[in-house]
């Protein structure tokens, strides 16, 4: 729906070979990417992978050591004032005034961005309605989910063209997380380009395109579907009664390429396709595991991430 309304061919955000060091730590190395107008672009990776550094460079808060970045056609170094008028930014840490009420925070940020709550009410209405009962409560006394909604409201109040959300769902309960992503979907439908980072792999599926980031480098940029399709080996979920012994035995099997615990099953790949699930069943029974459950599954983004980021990867 949104795709038909907006042409997805205009580049909104662009990075070229961005490098950035903190002291001796190379926080970002050789980051290049493009974000199209109207898409939700996810930066997915664990803590310390460089997500926040990248966001700060794009929001003109940090200078890159090397490389260029453009936001909405403006250079992040030369034209930073133009960029600051066009973007909404929600830092990873809750960054509103805890001693101001919900209403006061909103009013303040509306004024700072030269607008009023009424002017862009249509953008924030869905979120604001949920916040309204707590209007006169201090922001510091809100629940984690409510805080994030308020922060999103404040970042949206001036109808930005691009929204930068740095780990907006970290520390938020699952229900609020789901609601939050629904809201992002609605904002996307209004034509706002959204760049969002998250350490939660399951949220990657909700983005149009994602960049997997590890150790300061993008290891892959594509749609979630393409990334999953590109998973090299068949993937099996294996479970039995004694999961810990199972993990040890699976890892001891020389035909098993990778094996890691994943929720209530272990995800396993083999070195070659000649080794089948029947062979594995036999192997496990020889090790004394009965009641095994082996099934071929479609990889998730997390599987892809584990696969792509594992050192000494042969594929």
């Amino acid at each position: 729906m949104a795709e038909s309304k907006y042409q997805m061919n205009r580049i909104m955000v662009q990075g070229h070979n961005i490098f950035r060091k903190y002291g001796k730590v190379q926080a970002l190395s050789d980051i290049s990417f493009e974000v199209m107008e109207g898409e939700i672009f996810g930066v997915i990776g664990p803590d310390g992978a460089g997500k926040t550094t990248l966001f700060r460079i794009l929001t003109t808060l940090l200078l890159a050591d090397q490389g260029q970045a453009m936001v909405n056609g403006f250079d992040v170094v030369e034209d930073y004032t133009s960029i600051r008028k066009k973007i909404g930014y929600m830092p990873g840490k809750f960054s509103l005034y805890q001693d101001l009420t919900v209403q006061e925070n909103l009013d303040f940020f509306a004024t700072v961005f030269n607008t009023t709550i009424e002017e862009n009410y249509h953008l924030i209405r869905d979120i604001y309605v949920q916040l309204e009962p707590f209007k006169s409560r201090r922001a510091g006394a809100l629940s984690g989910g409510m805080k994030q909604k308020l922060a999103l409201c404040c970042a949206l109040i001036h109808k930005p063209e691009i929204l930068f959300l740095d780990e907006p769902t970290t520390g938020v309960d699952p229900v609020s997380r789901r609601e939050f992503w629904e809201m992002l979907g609605k904002l996307k439908a209004q034509g706002i380009t959204i760049i969002v980072s998250t350490p939660y792999m399951d949220e990657a599926e909700k983005c149009d395109r994602i960049a997997l980031i590890q150790g300061g480098s993008f290891i892959q940029i594509d749609t979630p579907e393409n990334i999953k399709d590109g998973y090299a080996n068949p993937l099996y979920a294996v479970s039995s009664e004694s999961m810990y012994a199972l993990l040890k035995d699976l890892r001891s099997c020389e035909r098993v390429k990778s094996c890691y615990p994943f929720g209530d099953a272990h995800h396993v790949t083999f070195f070659d396709d000649s080794f089948t699930s029947e062979d594995l069943e036999k192997f496990l029974q020889s090790k004394g595991h009965n009641d095994n459950n082996i099934s071929k599954i479609r990889p998730t983004i997390e599987d892809c991430f584990m696969n792509l980021s594992s050192p000494g990867d042969a594929s």
Binding site: L62, S95, D99, V112, C154
Partner: protein
Amino acid sequence: MKQFFAFIKKEFYHIFRDTWTMVILLILPMVMLILFGYALSTEVKNAGFAVYDPSKDSATEQITHRLDVSEYFYLYDVLTSPEQVEEVLKGGRVSFVIVFSEDFYNNMVHTGEAAIHLIMDGTDPNTAVTINNYVSNIILGYQQELLDRATLPYKINILQKFLYNPEMKSSYNFVPGVMGMIIMLVCAMMTSISIAREKETGTMEILLVSPMKPLVIILSKVVPYFFLSCINLITILLMAVFLFKVPVAGNLFALLIVSLLYIFVSLAIGLLISSVANSQIVALLISGMALMMPVMYLSGMMFPIENMPIFLQGMAQLLPAKWYITAVKNIMIKGLGFAAILKELGVLSLMALALITLSLKKFKTRLE
């Protein structure tokens, strides 16, 4: 303009909603003034003394009476033997003991060899010196009267006189000093902490990524503290005049002008600190250690600058507080006007200009 006022309103919310900020801003200055005024002064009030008086004649009784009715001392005990002197001093209830020689009046009138022995508790030398001065003054005063009446041809006229502060009131010294200190404290410390807090909580990130200009952010941070400092200035002046009886002898308008200028300098220092400090605790330490200590020890508030080594004298010249305190003393105590503080006004103006330029230059439009 709307942004500016919204920001100032927000700043006042922060101040009024945080109890400790309020305490530091409004109560602390008064507490400091009272502390310096009563507890830390070397002035003597209501010190007890004892008398050993073997002669008991009109002269000794007169002197004892005069000491007793003075506002500095009261007669705590009359001793009956010289052996009691040390005992009563050890008890700690008296600060000194007066021992008259025998046949005091007769000796004084006829031989001129009357002697008073003043035995002091020297554990606190500052107080002892002050007491010594007061007692000597009272006795000399009595002697003077006797000599006046006696119309003798030879008079020994010992005259002690202190210009500007005849009673040697220490409040004359500490009020300007505390003014210099409190304004520096409130302005520099509170502005730097409040900016550092925005950095620490991450709100500075959002403010930077907004159309607000850095100059507007800075100004709207400064204005509320400027306003509160003016309130503090008025409170301190009122307390100085009505509680400590320090007059504003000179031009009140000149006093206000130099104070506003000094507030401005202090705010600029606060801004400068905030450009270095990224957390509240760092801002607190820098303004506490690097500002308060020199202001207390080098500004001439506690120790006269003239007695310092040359190196420290040079350092003292760099302190805005030193110039401000000098100007305040000139106006409040010596009763002078604008003409007398032109040099101080000039130096403070230069400092203000240099500091505000520097802090505007150093204000970061990015995070680092």
